[in-house]
């Protein structure tokens, strides 16, 4: 334990001894940096720290970034918030986090910061000050300010950071994004609904015009930003520097794999969606008229379904058959396609068209 400075693996282990054994002398803060760019692994690491680290006397800052992903808030509706089909085509992951708030797009140009503290020490404005002060020191010409909504606004107009948080048994975490050099066109391409006609009381997002820091401070390097924030966080304490961690390492984070699997699972990602309904037109080019679809979705599955197709084009019995087959299935084109496979293969061309039109709505 004595010469940990030279060996990063030992220093990481030691640092975790500090974190998990409350007997050690207090360190005011600790900065961790995740090696992983997998959104589910990083969210699992957050859960692990929240559940296992004694935060009553010390705080932790975790710095992380993800390969392209859309992250929705705890009580949001992914069908309403993002274009699932476009995301599948582009290989963009979807994750539901455990904190509240709205939908964000993550990529390697977006820095995530998670401030872990006891519930008593929970103070989001103070945390955001770490970011704004760091930016002021790095680039004093930038006007960065935290708002009442706990966004950080650049030059009075552009949102460069959004905030969300979670209060659990003993502790709290507050995390925020920070746009350094994200792909803005990818962002706007995916942050729109998967299908029209959604009626839901899930928590909505509040869209805002965004900008990257490098749009206004082109010389600001990623490493410079990360170091600047870590330094500001550690200001006034004897600690400096960050500790690199691998969130999939079960020797450091026992059971983290289970947390990751839960976050990655369909039940959490889609099944946790608050009840909603979809009411929309069905495109039936062959009929030269449209039909109507009404679906109730509960826990991500079709709870009720009614298909209204022109009665002189396809008989009601058949459209009723399709509705009945869909009830109980996941509101997802792949799952639904499997359920209606037999109908899709049937002789009746109009039935096939009706099925295709319904699947199209699901995204």
């Amino acid at each position: 334990h004595q010469n940990q400075a030279s060996c990063s693996a030992v220093s990481t282990l030691t640092c975790f001894c500090f974190l998990t054994c409350s007997g050690f002398s207090t360190r005011s803060g600790l900065v961790l940096q995740s090696r992983s760019t997998d959104v589910h692994q990083n969210l699992a690491l957050e859960d692990w720290i929240d559940a296992n680290v004694d935060l009553q006397r010390r705080s932790v800052l975790l710095l992380w970034r993800n390969r392209p992903a859309v992250v929705i808030g705890r009580h949001q509706n992914p069908w309403a918030e993002c274009d699932l089909k476009a995301m599948r085509r582009a290989g963009i992951a979807l994750a539901r986090r455990r904190s509240g708030g709205g939908t964000v797009f993550h990529d390697l140009g977006n820095l995530n910061l998670t401030f872990f503290a006891s519930k008593k020490a929970y103070d989001r404005q103070r945390n955001l000050k770490v970011v704004t002060e760091a930016l002021r020191r790095l680039r004093p010409e930038l006007d960065v300010r935290a708002t009442d909504r706990l966004d950080i606004i650049l030059n009075g107009h552009y949102k460069i950071s959004g905030t969300a948080s979670r209060l659990s048994r003993q502790s709290s975490y507050h995390h925020c994004t920070l746009l350094h050099s994200a792909d803005r066109s990818a962002l706007s391409a995916v942050l729109r609904p998967s299908c029209p006609g959604i009626h839901s009381n899930a928590t909505p997002s509040v869209p805002s015009p965004v900008a990257n820091l490098i749009d206004h401070a082109p010389s600001l390097q990623w490493e410079e930003l990360v170091e600047g924030v870590a330094e500001q966080y550690n200001k006034g304490s004897t600690d400096s520097g960050t500790v690199l961690v691998d969130p999939s390492d079960e020797t450091l984070f026992p059971d983290v794999g289970r947390l990751e699997a839960e976050l990655r699972g369909w039940n959490w990602t889609f099944g946790k969606t608050p009840k909603f309904s979809v009411e929309t037109q069905l495109q039936l080019p062959e009929a030269r008229r449209s039909g109507r679809l009404q679906v109730d979705v509960k826990n991500g599955r079709i709870d009720g379904c009614s298909i209204d197709a022109p009665a002189d084009w396809i008989c009601e019995r058949l459209s009723g058959e399709l509705s009945a087959v869909l009830v109980g299935e996941r509101f997802c084109p792949n799952a639904a396609a499997a359920a209606v496979a037999a109908l899709l293969r049937c002789e009746n061309r109009r039935m096939r068209e009706l099925c295709a039109a319904v699947l199209q709505v699901m995204g």
Binding site: G73, R74, H75, G100, Y122, R166, L167, R169, N201, P274
Partner: protein, 175 residues
């Protein structure tokens, strides 16, 4: 005569000002409880009602009536939370262990986990909260109730705090 005295005690706001506002239904059933019992000991005015409301250290309350516990959050909790914008509640029929996470309240401040005060099965959830989550702030002991559940292990109620104990607990937090 003893009965009349009991009813007078009940009706003459004998409750300490620190007792929460109980719904009229709860007051009515408590009165009935006093009437039905023959033993003079149970005619002490606050005994039936003060055992009806118990608190956890997570600032949830549970009120037992006819073998069903109604669960909500305390005034201290709703104030700390800020305006509730969404209530994430469990399904009817879901079985909960004591201390198990059963949902979350989302407010402007954070998403706060809810922990089951008892072991039992969810019998009802407050569907009013879907349209009106603010009821949790406005009327946390009555219309802002969250779930109702069966009580599989009545002995768990012993481990919860009564009103006086909870008030002391809050005081200790504020120090």
């Amino acid at each position: 005569m003893a009965m009349r005295a009991a009813v007078r005690c009940l009706s003459a706001a004998n409750f300490s000002s620190r007792l929460p506002q109980l719904s009229s239904a709860a007051q009515l059933s408590a009165t009935r409880l006093l009437w039905r019992s023959g033993s003079p000991r149970t005619l002490s005015s606050t005994s039936a009602l003060s055992t009806a409301l118990k608190f956890t250290d997570k600032h949830e309350w549970v009120q037992v009536e006819g073998g069903i516990g109604t669960v909500g959050i305390s005034s201290y909790a709703q104030e700390a939370l800020g305006d509730v914008v969404y209530c994430g509640l469990p399904e009817v029929g879901q079985r909960l262990e004591q201390m198990e996470e059963f949902g979350a309240l989302e407010s402007v401040k954070a998403a706060s986990e809810l922990y089951s005060p008892l072991t039992g099965e969810v019998t009802e959830i407050n569907t009013e909260l879907a349209e009106n989550p603010g009821l949790v702030n406005k009327d946390c002991y009555a219309q802002g109730w969250l779930i109702k559940m069966t009580i599989e292990k009545p002995e768990e109620l012993e481990s919860l705090m009564d009103q006086a104990g909870y008030d002391k607990f809050i005081k200790s937090l504020e120090e």
